[in-house]
Symmetry: C2
Subunit: 463 residues, 2 copies
């Protein structure tokens, strides 16, 4: 090991990152028995880890931990919390402390927390989050929708004029160290009117000759986003072109701010969680320890909708009650037909939803794709139908019953393919997120269709 | 606009990024009528966009486009393709061309494509992907599992000794421009034995005094990963600490390579897609235009498993065939009870699977969480039970039937909560990915449980 001299410049932040289950237990222990120990325990921890600890704590213990987070770190801790827990923590803090905490944050994080404050406050007082932001510029960020480029943007950017040399730029950065964004990443080359001309990454500027002008080493037609663009488009740009910074400009091409890749990573992870949650009628990032009644209230509407679809399926069965009375075997077999169709449609819709999200479906290939899904559904349905028919025949010794279940199975797989294809396509066209609402509709289609075809055919052919 | 002089240094890559539907149509047109136009059309396009075009093309048109991609860009195009389409393209290329294409790639991308080649080749010839890599170092990367830090790592890193000054480091970078990684990002400070001492980001090195030694400005206890660590852990590190580069070291602390945030973004997006696909028994990134038989063959096993669970539910119904014969209304109502339980369990399992993935469930809070889910299930179940009972009473005028359906609904919601809680917990403990296998098991539990409780209670109380 090399011996260290006293550092000339303070080294990079040196907080400990990560914690063990044993450490978490000592935090719990300190909360119960000696809260002052929390200062030491949390002192060296990264803000993201403190946020993690708060998320894992039952709600009644959180206040105690909050009391031992120093004022200047509170903002970062709040910014790192998941939505559900963040709302709980915001309620526990007093407005003055909260306002102070937000002043320590970079513009995008400050706006993000201010949005959470807004969401907690009843509709008619909307805009209250704004009051917590001291900086006028930061307030402006709140006007952008959260799910747009504007909502992801931060105002801290490093700009330079096109005629400045590489050497001058590097000298400027060194001299103005204190005012630099934490991670400048990219130099945005702009006119005096802030019109974006090009970009030079820091990785590039350390490699090109000092005397070169920025306009000669910059990427002259930089990628950019407009503030209204939905964040899914922004994610695609980052993913495709492996960039670390993206300029956000207004319609006149003037630089408003930038989006950084670490925020994009957070967005992608949050989005995935949110979509998975919403697809089953949950609030995005549910607080694990939300009160039972809150949890139940959030979950009920989606269950209610599903109850309606179940009732619809039941109504179809009710149509054929007489047939069932004559041949109760139908009641035994009917859930199989419906359930198989439901599973098949899930596969098709998963493929279609993803292809839609990636924009892979074009006017040219849409028909091709439908044909493929339909044929594949027919093929799979036929194989399963043969299996079912064989089983029925062996079990019940009724060839006609075997025929009925076979035909119903094939028909229901064809329904399933059509439903799995058309439902997400139509939802998308109507402006809904197919990832969220497809499931309920396709399940209804295959349930209703499955019961109808099976019981209907049975009534026609067997009774 | 500023007039540009002839550039001193070639500007950053200036390919056009993105393409319109109209552009895609002109590509289709060129394929049909004048393939030589493809050179011009694809010439200025970014490799990621060329990959996008290939993914959208029906399989029989892909070969023609491949013939118009210049040799030195082929590797990058292949690296950008989704798994399913990539395998198809690899089959279309001859081995010599493929080998040449891989030489143009950075180590991690080269290893990634070599892994795809491996996957296409029957088991007994495994290791063939290695033969396509010219560089011995690159071959070594193949020994790491794809889903580990080693599998994500690239070998191109910028290292420096601790006693080197900032000024010397910057001079070294400038002088050795040609050998630098495309995006150095971070300087890894190492001993002559490559033992990792610290890191200095490029964003930081342009801000500290020239005469400072690296050891005085570096982050002295840098985050690192071991090559065996699963990639989900690596993603968490990037997400939590907002880093752009992560060192990978061996057990002796020697630097092996690094992982970059743009690869992490790709991994997260791929992982999400893969998990969604696998949860419904699909191959990760299915080629939209795979032949019907391939698609059907891939989808059949999961449907087969689900058929078995449906048969299990049917077997329960069969137990009560006599009861149904006496009271066919039971056949009408039974799917409602089962379906409601299925939906409730989906909500609980979604919450638990996510909490497990984030490591939020600890020994301390596990019981608390179970209690919350159970109570919430009971509460929701009771509300829905009252609704169901009321509906039944109004519709059929049978108070006992209403009672039966109410009790069965509550019981099934409690089952649902327990299943949604314990199944993912046990799968995780047994080493399976709960996101993939939970659904099939919980559905079986709520189907079987739902039918059993409802029909059993009805038999006891009504008949």
């Amino acid at each position: 090991m090399i011996r260290k001299k006293a550092p000339v410049i303070p080294a990079d932040e040196t907080t400990i990152r990560g914690f063990s289950e044993a450490f978490f237990e000592s935090v719990l222990d300190a909360i119960e028995h000696s809260p002052t120990d929390l200062d030491g325990l949390l002192g060296n921890l990264h803000e993201a880890d403190i946020a993690d600890i708060i998320e894992r704590l039952p709600r009644d213990k959180r206040q105690i931990v909050l009391g031992h987070i120093p004022f200047e770190r509170m903002g970062d801790v709040i910014a790192e919390l998941e939505e559900g827990v963040r709302e709980h923590v915001l309620q526990l803090l007093n407005p003055a402390d909260l306002k102070g905490a937000l002043e320590e944050l970079e513009s995008d994080d400050a706006a993000d927390v201010a949005r959470s404050i807004d969401e907690m406050i009843p509709e008619h007082e909307e805009g209250e989050g704004e009051d917590y932001l001291a900086d006028y510029q930061h307030k402006r960020l709140l006007h952008y929708d959260e799910d747009t480029a504007g909502g992801l943007m931060q105002l801290e950017v490093l700009t330079a004029p096109p005629t400045q040399t590489v050497g001058e730029t590097l000298e400027f950065i060194r001299k103005n160290e204190a005012e630099m964004p934490v991670k400048p990443g990219t130099i945005f080359v702009v006119t005096p009117q802030r019109k974006l001309l090009g970009t030079v990454s820091i990785s590039r500027i350390v490699r090109v000759p000092f005397e070169a002008k920025l306009q000669d080493v910059m990427r002259p037609d930089p990628l950019f986003a407009l503030p209204e663009q939905p964040h899914t488009e922004i994610v695609s740009i980052f993913e495709k072109y492996d960039i670390h910074n993206l300029a956000v400009v207004n319609k006149r091409g003037q630089l408003l701010g930038r989006i950084t890749i670490d925020d994009i990573l957070d967005v992608v992870l949050e989005d995935t969680a949110r979509q998975q949650a919403r697809a089953v009628g949950l609030n995005e990032a549910e607080d694990l320890f939300a009160p039972v009644l809150t949890t139940a209230r959030q979950r009920l509407p989606w269950l209610g909708i599903n109850l309606l679809t179940a009732v619809a399926a039941s109504a179809v069965i009710a149509l054929f009650e007489d047939s069932i009375a004559k041949l109760t075997t139908l009641a035994v077999l009917m859930p199989i037909v419906a359930s198989m169709g439901g599973n098949a449609t899930t596969q098709t819709q998963t493929v279609i939803i993803r292809a839609l999200a990636l924009g892979q479906i074009t006017r040219q290939n849409a028909v091709e794709l439908l044909k493929k899904e339909f044929l594949s559904g027919g093929y799979v349905g036929t194989l399963l139908a043969l299996l079912m028919a064989l089983g029925c025949w062996l079990l019940y010794g009724q060839p006609m019953l075997a025929l009925v279940i076979a035909v119903a199975t094939v028909a229901n797989h064809l329904f399933a393919a059509l439903g799995g294809y058309f439902v997400p396509m139509m939802l998308k066209r109507a402006g809904y997120d197919p990832a969220i609402s497809t499931g309920v509709l396709t399940t209804t289609i295959t349930d209703v269709g499955g019961f109808f075809v099976f019981l209907g055919l049975a009534t026609l052919l067997l009774l």
